[in-house]
């Protein structure tokens, strides 16, 4: 055990010390740490009282906990059926699994490591403390319960995923049993909501909330246990709190005994998932998009077929897009974002819905664009080597990302237009603003590579990118806000034009300034 505790402590110590060599990351962690402390202090010091009557129905929060539980059960069970999850790294596989240390102790080490990672990932909940208090009247104790149940749910689902993998690996019949169980539970929940509506009347939402508030719902593994724990916590029901915790602990013990009992050899079971996780991590580190689904090459969709010189890069991207999505530019992001925009349009006042949705979508678009096709090309040597002018190659490598933003903009704001019943002209200009923000983000990638040289660190690029976005476009954003507020109703559609204009002008300038990027950039991957 000495070796394992040494490994845990030294890894933590070295990770901390490595921040000395990564000042930007250190500053980022510092900002996160200080902002959390600041929020907690401000939360305690803020004595503003909001009337209890203005709080939203607490059952909405129960519903959110149940939905997150449901999402994790589906995601982690699906992973369990395909690759399984892992508590280990490739270094653990190479060095620990072959060492003369008991496999039970190694499992404990993996569990401890995973628990630490899970707690860190739950920190984002702390950023919601003001929203939760203002909307649901949750105090600091309530936040703590929420934090704990989120971490427990995530950790438990990872264990569940490994257990499913061990149980169903290489056995299609067992895989189907697992599918039937988790889809069955979800189907029962959905049917129950409809049955409740049939007998009690009212909206589906109202009946959904009634269901999550029901004690028998709270006995459903993971999905209901989380609600039971949180509700017991904020209501001070010690018995229910202990019962829910015991349910998690006992189930975890059953799963862990499955790893270690009898002939169960979990080394082999986690080996494949560890390799998959490692490859994904390596791909993410080198900026490659990872595809978890198996893409089958169809005979009909082979060959680039068009393009010569620089334009080949564009046609190659089109072929890749066809393989990634049957509908070319319309992919899972378009569908999820459309549903999200549709729901938001329904609940936000129609006068401002379009602008709020635009702001949120642009924020998400930033991250999507940074992992787009141009970014992928810059991580490979081909684009640098092709004997064509740098600007032509850069434009060709950016085209699919730009077109996707145009298509997404049109579809997303068509949904917004239909639901908010606002003028198609306003929504057309919102779509234009969305597409132009995409253009800005593409040009920012060129700027980042030109400024930082080599293949810039993703965290640095993202942080600086968001900062630059606000600095460079703040005049455009300001003018747009001003225009929307002063323009007569008939001309409100022109409100986003200053923003769109500044995006296009700044992007054109960056393209002009950094068009020769490929002649001046550094391809540093694999240098020694």
């Amino acid at each position: 055990m000495k070796g394992l505790s040494y490994l845990l402590i030294t890894t933590f110590k070295n990770r901390f010390l490595s921040l000395k060599r990564k000042p930007v990351l250190a500053v980022l962690y510092g900002i996160i740490f200080i902002s959390i402390i600041f929020m907690i202090v401000a939360f305690q010091a803020d004595t503003t009282t909001i009337k209890a009557a203005s709080y939203k129905d607490i059952r909405i929060l129960y519903g959110i906990i149940a939905l997150i539980g449901m999402l994790y059960v589906v995601v982690f069970s699906s992973t369990g059926i395909s690759t399984g999850s892992t508590l280990f790294s490739m270094a653990d596989v190479g060095l620990l699994f072959v060492s003369p240390i008991s496999s039970r102790k190694i499992l404990l080490y993996g569990l401890l490591k995973q628990m630490g990672a899970t707690i860190v990932s739950a920190i984002f909940i702390l950023y919601q403390i003001f929203t939760l208090r203002d909307n649901f009247g949750i105090d600091s104790k309530g936040i703590l319960y929420l934090f704990i149940i989120y971490a427990i749910t995530l950790f438990f689902c990872q264990l569940l995923s490994i257990a499913i993998y061990i149980y169903s690996n290489g056995n299609p019949f067992r895989k189907n049993i697992v599918r039937v169980i988790y889809y069955g539970i979800i189907a029962i929940i959905v049917i129950s909501v409809f049955v409740l509506q049939l007998f009690r009347g009212g909206t589906l939402l109202e009946n959904g909330l009634t269901l999550v508030d029901n004690k028998s719902f709270q006995s459903i593994p993971v999905i209901g246990w989380g609600v039971m724990f949180f509700r017991a916590g904020i209501e001070g029901d010690i018995l229910a709190l202990i019962v829910s915790l015991l349910l998690y602990i006992l189930s975890s013990m059953v799963i862990i005994s499955l790893f270690t009992s009898g002939n169960a050899d979990y080394y082999e079971d986690v080996l494949y998932s560890t390799e998959v996780t490692y490859n994904k991590f390596q791909d993410a580190k080198s900026g490659k998009k990872t595809f978890t689904k198996n893409v089958k090459v169809k005979e009909k969709v082979t060959g680039i077929k068009k393009g010569i010189g620089s334009s080949t890069i564009f046609y190659k991207h089109l072929l890749e897009k066809k393989r990634e999505s049957r509908f070319l530019f319309v992919d899972s992001y378009t569908i999820i974002a459309s549903i999200g925009a549709g729901i938001a349009s329904k609940y936000i006042s129609s006068g401002v819905a379009g602008y709020i949705i635009l702001a949120v979508l642009i924020y998400i678009q930033f991250f999507g664009t940074m992992l787009g096709k141009l970014s992928m090309e810059l991580k490979r040597p081909y684009i640098y080597m092709i004997p064509q002018k740098s600007l032509h190659k850069v434009v060709a490598a950016s085209l699919t990302t730009l077109l996707k933003n145009v298509v997404d903009g049109i579809l997303l704001f068509t949904v917004v237009c239909i639901i908010t019943k606002t003028s198609p002209l306003i929504n057309a200009f919102l779509a234009l603003a969305y597409a132009s923000a995409g253009l800005f983000f593409v040009s920012f990638q060129l700027l980042a590579q030109r400024l930082f040289g080599g293949q810039p660190n993703k965290i640095i690029s993202l942080t600086v990118g968001l900062g630059l976005f606000f600095i460079l476009l703040s005049p455009g954003i300001g003018f747009s806000i001003f225009a929307v507020s002063v323009l007569p109703t008939a001309l409100t559609f022109l409100g986003t034009l200053p923003f769109t204009f500044s995006c296009v002008v700044i992007s054109a300038f960056i393209f002009g300034f950094c068009g020769d990027l490929l002649d001046k950039a550094e391809y540093t991957i694999g240098s020694n």
Partner: protein, 240 residues
């Protein structure tokens, strides 16, 4: 022909290549030998136009970053980097279109046959093992029939048949008048076909020999390599 003139490459304060000068003539295979971190990949990437540097590099008389030079260059990186969503035959098509090649299919088929890839044309890049990916990467580099070839540790990960074929191909390109620069830290693997060798250490050339010189003097290249690389280590330890 490759002409490297006073090339220095720095990463911050670290000097990866220190004022290097050398030539690789047409029909010549030149080897860069050296331990890990000697600066071999850096000079190869600089020649390929992938890095910024101080000094001059000419490819058949053209500046290495010019379009004329790029048309003449073939670069095979140490780590194969393929496109996940393209089949390996589509990699060939991509290179052919991007380099505006005509009647390329025959050459691509020949390369695939020699590297035993002809039955895997419809496999995606990410479905192949590292060794297979390396073969595709070599095919991509050779398809435009470059006059200057840069290989960064090309034999690592290849199976014996592919190593044999690649060695044969190198001889063929040499006969055809191409200039070939190849980095390795495995002397044995290249002993039968090099014309000139440069032993690198800490970004500098510590020794240079031609095959004629070595044959004339009977010098043991392996001994020379270890004398250079290990004496450096020893002198560092003495300083400590």
């Amino acid at each position: 022909m490759i002409d490297v003139i006073n090339v220095t490459k720095k990463y911050g304060k670290f000097i990866a290549n220190d004022n290097l000068n050398f030539k690789v003539l047409p029909g010549e295979i030149s080897i860069l030998l050296g331990p890990n971190g000697a600066g071999k990949s850096t000079i190869i990437k600089s020649i390929a136009g992938l890095l910024r540097f101080k000094g001059n590099i000419l490819i058949c008389g053209h500046k290495n970053k010019s379009l004329e030079a790029k048309r003449l260059l073939g670069y095979i990186p140490e780590m194969p980097v393929l496109y996940d969503m393209l089949t390996i035959w589509e990699h060939m098509e991509f290179i052919a279109r991007a380099y505006s090649l005509k009647n390329w299919e025959g050459k691509a088929n020949e390369l695939f046959e020699r590297f035993e890839l002809d039955d895997k044309k419809n496999k995606l890049g990410n479905e192949l093992s590292k060794g297979m990916q390396q073969k595709v990467s070599i095919c991509c580099g050779l398809l435009p029939n470059p006059r200057v070839l840069l290989f960064d540790e090309p034999l690592v990960g290849l199976d014996p048949h592919a190593i044999k074929e690649l060695k044969l191909m190198l001889q063929e390109y040499k006969k055809d008048g191409a200039s070939i620069l190849l980095s390795t830290h495995m002397l044995d693997s290249v002993s039968e076909f090099w014309d000139g060798t440069n032993i690198m250490m800490n970004g500098k050339f510590m020794a240079r020999r031609t095959r004629k010189e070595v044959l004339g003097t009977g010098e043991d290249l392996e001994k020379l390599f270890f004398d250079i690389t290990e004496s450096k280590k020893e002198s560092k330890e003495e300083v400590k």
